[in-house]
């Protein structure tokens, strides 16, 4: 089913008006996500292949082995050959999201516009809006919206669950051990700063369950530049892990080396499993990441 830009924009406007009408029940995040989603040029995003569906796709010449009932006689009557009427494949896709909501994601350096978690949620929801509007099913792993569904309700549920933070969040997040829909897509948004074993085990598990997808590493600028000096005790956001240094500046090189190492490992695994990898900084525009994600997910679907 292909929809014009005007239709989608109309929908977005309606959604926003609806959100306002229901008295703020629509989380602000969703409004943000919709505004962001509206900026993405939709274009034709059909499956562009024959399959089961209701929309006409193409006529093709019948070859031996085709079932007779599939022959379109009206078309065949206009020529000497037999044609088979093929419909466009319209089976809905499932895209599973994991937006890390660990305490580490709450980090926001003074100059950054948003915290990492806010950015992850925004990207998740914006992409979901686009996918839902394209008729796909979306799921948010590790929350009550983990069951893949389509429609506004699902979007709202996702937004609510992302806004509704639990009290006892861990310092660092790891992909939840949920079952992914085979053949579906997955988008993992996190800073991947957690303990190496926990993070990579979850990722490997997801990658192995015949699901392709995207890792989005969201980082704060200070996590890359490490602009600290002097005698500092670094603590994880929850305070579970701490590290004292006498002169932070001297550790910059070593830190940046380790960060690069972690990213290399991430990209290495993505390459092996056919996933994609994106590094997104909170100081960058979310639109850029959204376009890339849309291309990466939509292009495959």
């Amino acid at each position: 089913m292909s929809r014009s830009i005007a239709d989608i924009a109309h929908d977005a406007v309606w959604l926003r008006r609806d959100a306002e009408k229901i008295g703020g029940a629509l989380p602000p995040l969703l409004a943000d996500a919709e505004r962001l989603a509206a900026t993405v040029v939709m274009g034709d995003h059909g499956r562009k292949r024959a399959g089961t569906g209701e929309t006409f796709w193409q006529y093709r010449r019948a070859v031996p082995g085709d079932v007779l009932t599939q022959v379109d006689w009206r078309r065949s009557a206009r020529s000497d050959r037999l044609y088979i009427r093929e419909m466009e494949w319209e089976a809905a896709q499932t895209v599973s999201f994991w937006a890390d909501d660990a305490l580490a994601m709450d980090y926001r350096s003074p100059k950054a516009p948003r915290s990492k978690r806010e950015r992850a949620a925004l990207l998740t929801l914006a992409l979901s809006v686009l996918l839902v509007k394209a008729g796909e099913r979306v799921a948010l792993l590790g929350t009550e919206a983990a069951q893949p569904r389509s429609g506004e309700t699902q979007l709202r549920r996702m937004a609510m669950s992302m806004a509704n933070l639990s009290e006892d969040r861990p310092d660092f997040g790891a992909p939840p051990p949920a079952r992914l829909t085979p053949g579906g897509r997955a988008v993992f948004l996190s800073d991947f700063m957690g303990p190496r074993d926990a993070v990579f085990e979850g990722l490997t598990q997801a990658a192995e369950s015949s699901v392709s997808g995207v890792f989005v590493q969201i980082v704060d600028d200070t996590e890359e530049s490490f602009p600290f000096d002097g005698r500092v005790v670094f603590e994880s956001m929850g305070g579970a892990v701490s590290f004292e240094t006498q002169r932070a500046k001297a550790l910059r090189e070593a830190y940046q080396e380790r960060l690069a190492e972690r990213r290399a490992a991430l990209q290495d695994m993505a390459r092996r499993t056919g996933w994609h990898c994106l590094i997104h900084r909170t100081s960058e525009s979310p639109r850029k990441a959204l376009l890339w994600l849309y291309g990466a997910i939509g292009g495959q679907v």
């Binding site: 580490a104 994601m105 980090y107 003074p110 990492k116 660092f172 800073d191 700063m193 957690g194 303990p195 704060d220 200070t222 996590e223 490490f226 602009p227 600290f228 000096d229 002097g230 005698r231 500092v232 005790v233 670094f234 603590e235 994880s236 956001m237 305070g239 892990v241 701490s242 590290f243 004292e244 240094t245 006498q246 002169r247 932070a248 500046k249 001297a250 550790l251 070593a254 830190y255 380790r258 960060l259 972690r262």
Partner: protein, 923 residues
Amino acid sequence: MLAFGSLAFLTPWLLTALITLPVLWWLLRAIPPAPARRAFPGVRLLLGLTDPERMPERTPWWLLLLRMVALAAAILAFANPVLNPRNTEGGSGPLLVVMDASWASAPAWPERVARVRDALDGAARDGRPTHLHLLTDPVPAEGLSFQDAQTHLRRLQGLAPAAWAPDRAAFATWLDSQDARFDSLWLTDDLTPAPDFVAALQARGSVRIIRTGRPVLALSAPVFEDGAVRASLHRSRADAPLPPLSVDALGLDPNGVERKLGSAEALFEADATSVDVSFDLPLELRNRITRIALPAQRSAGTVALSDDGLKRRKIGLVAGRQAREEQRLVEPLHYLRIALAPSADLIEASITDILNAAPDVVILADVGTVTTEERDRLLDWLDSGGLLLRFAGPRLAQSGDGQLEEDPLLPVRLRAGGRSVGGAMSWGAPKTLRPFAESSPFFGLDVPQDVAVRSQVMAQPDPNLPERVMAALEDGTPLVTGRRQGDGRVVLFHVTANAEWSSLPISGLFVQMLERLAVSTRAAQPEAADLEGETWAPLQVLDGYGTLGEAGLLSGVDGADLISQPVSAIMPPGLYEAGDRRIARNVLGANDTLTPLGPMPATVIEESFDVEEEQVLKPWLLLLALALLAIDILATLWVAGRLTGPRLVSGAAKVSMLALALGLATHADAQEAEDLALLATTETVLAYVQTGDPRVDQISEAGMAGLTLVLNRRTAIEPVAPVAVDIERDEISFFPFLYWPVTELQEIPSDAAYAKLNTYLRSGGMILFDTRDSNLGAFGSGTPNGRMLQRLAAKLDIPPLEPAPEDHVLTRTFYLLQDFPGRYARAPIWVEAAQDLEEVEGMPFRNLNDGVTPVVIGGNDWAAAWAVTAQGQPMFPVGRGAAGGRQRELAYRFGVNLIMHVMTGNYKSDQVHVPALLERLGQ
């Protein structure tokens, strides 16, 4: 109180806290600065890293030092340090206060009196009996009697410095005869070492000396040398550099008004104690110099009176015989010229021409007859005070003048012919002189034995001859005779002016006799021997401040003492007169110098005047400690690596905010000035000048408030609440009227303030100067406030003043008044002198040139009479009973008249004509 030199601590026990500093040092060194705690998600990546370099774990030494200094500053601050503490005289028992009270004390007299007042107040509080003695006063006749300090406090106001040096030795001797123990406070003038005196005081108890620490300046008498008037300026100490000082030569101008005739700059060399000043003035001005003075320091020492030594007389010489070149030594005028030329200006011309030049003396040497016209003119000139000196000779002897009847141009009648003794044709030896009689002006001069008289003209033995003889020969024949003629004198030497008849003109006696006759003036300071036996009467004497005053009842002084003795109470510095000669006796003699008091024994407590201001250092030290702590905060942050860009920026922003706040504060000042200007221009405001004395300022304010009340009630002038004006800071041109109470310890305004005041006076403002002391003495008679007023007004552009005349417009601007009372009554007030006085229709009318008198000066303490409390009740009693009430009412009326006068200008004085105008209109 713990004192180190000029620094003292009021709570010294707090200083023990300084001991804790080393402990704190050790503690602070042991504890490194706390690390910063920072939440950072990337911490896991850091785990296991080792620090390649270590930050200093110990606090750096300079940071420690900073903290130590801050702490030390705080401890010192709380120990209440005071710079130049005002020592209070501790101790008990009797207190002797001695003041040098000499001319050298005059420049800082009010401060000295204030210091003594402090000491006496302290003694009164402590109940110590005191004795106050001025060393310039004679030693008390009775014994040492200590009295309640209050009795001496009452005397203080009237004390004045004397013009002579203190007699410390006499007092020390007198002390020796007393039997008492006491502490002493000695306010010295810093001149002349006095170890004996200090020892005498120390023998009785502790001694505290109060010294000025400033050099004393004095001028020596002016002398005429090398064509210029010279004097030298001395100073007591050469250790401190002095700015160039200006020395003025003062004298009367032809109108009899004292003016500055010349001015010279004196700049002391680095180590010199004296500097010469010279005035190069034309003769006319030089003769008029009465004194030279140093305006920078007013005392008897810095005023040097001039006397005959500076005067050069104009002498007309006339000879009866024309000079011939080959006979110079026998020429009649030769010896006179030699004797007089160094000290006088000689005119040789005809008698008429000489008289046209208004000479002081005319000398006629052997002139026989004079024409009638010349005689008449000579007599006129004699009547107006000339001195005619005649010498005899053959022509006079032959002329027969004054032989038959008394000639007004000769002192005595002469006998026909003369006599000659000791010649070839006569008996006897040449006659010598008889010692001078006591009545003679030559009394005291030595008669040299080699003076011999061979010929002379003889006087007729008349009844009045003896009283006219000024000098006689050993046989009694008159040699010099003289008599008064009108205001002048006629003197005749019965011998010639050359060596023909006698050897007198070639002796030294001749010059001295001319000097005594005030024909010539002496070139140098006279020796004591020269004046031996004469009595010199004081004509005018200097007071301690260097002001010339009448001698009053002072008795005469012996001539020898006048020169040799130092000035004292019986012989104060001043102008002394004997006959026609005058000698000025100055504080500093010809060869005197100023010797400083020198160092004191260590056991004597010394105190200085120059640093009276007590400086409390606590706020400054606390400020320093706070500033250091602020620096410490920044430094600690920097050491801990927490002083990053944004913080630095925000810190800078805070600093700039602070600067902005300060800027706003100065802006607030400007705003205040603007408010004042607005108030003064939109309302009528009475203003008073702040003197710095809180009590006086309070009275001024209350006085202005009282006057404001009365003005509002009775007149159309409706002023608002009075305003205090700071002459230095505030703009005064908005105020129509300023009340200026004069206090003794007032700051002299700066030049800028004077410029402002002069503009104010010129542009129609009025200042009422109130010395508030007309109970102490008539205005201008040298009360402390009066002197202060003179100093204040010296630079003010004030027109000639006169006591307010009976018909002054002030007496009739609103009320008709005869007197202008304040708290004190019946003292005159001074206003601008009337410019021209004309009679209009029988009524004296002052045309005051559209002006209000710019100043009104008096001492009636008006503000106190006007002053009301906040409840509207009078603050001070005025007079007694009903008469007092009347006086207060009159004081208010004066205030109303004054403000009316200020506000209406000459309108009210024009009202005088209203009846006349109405009359004319009717016609």
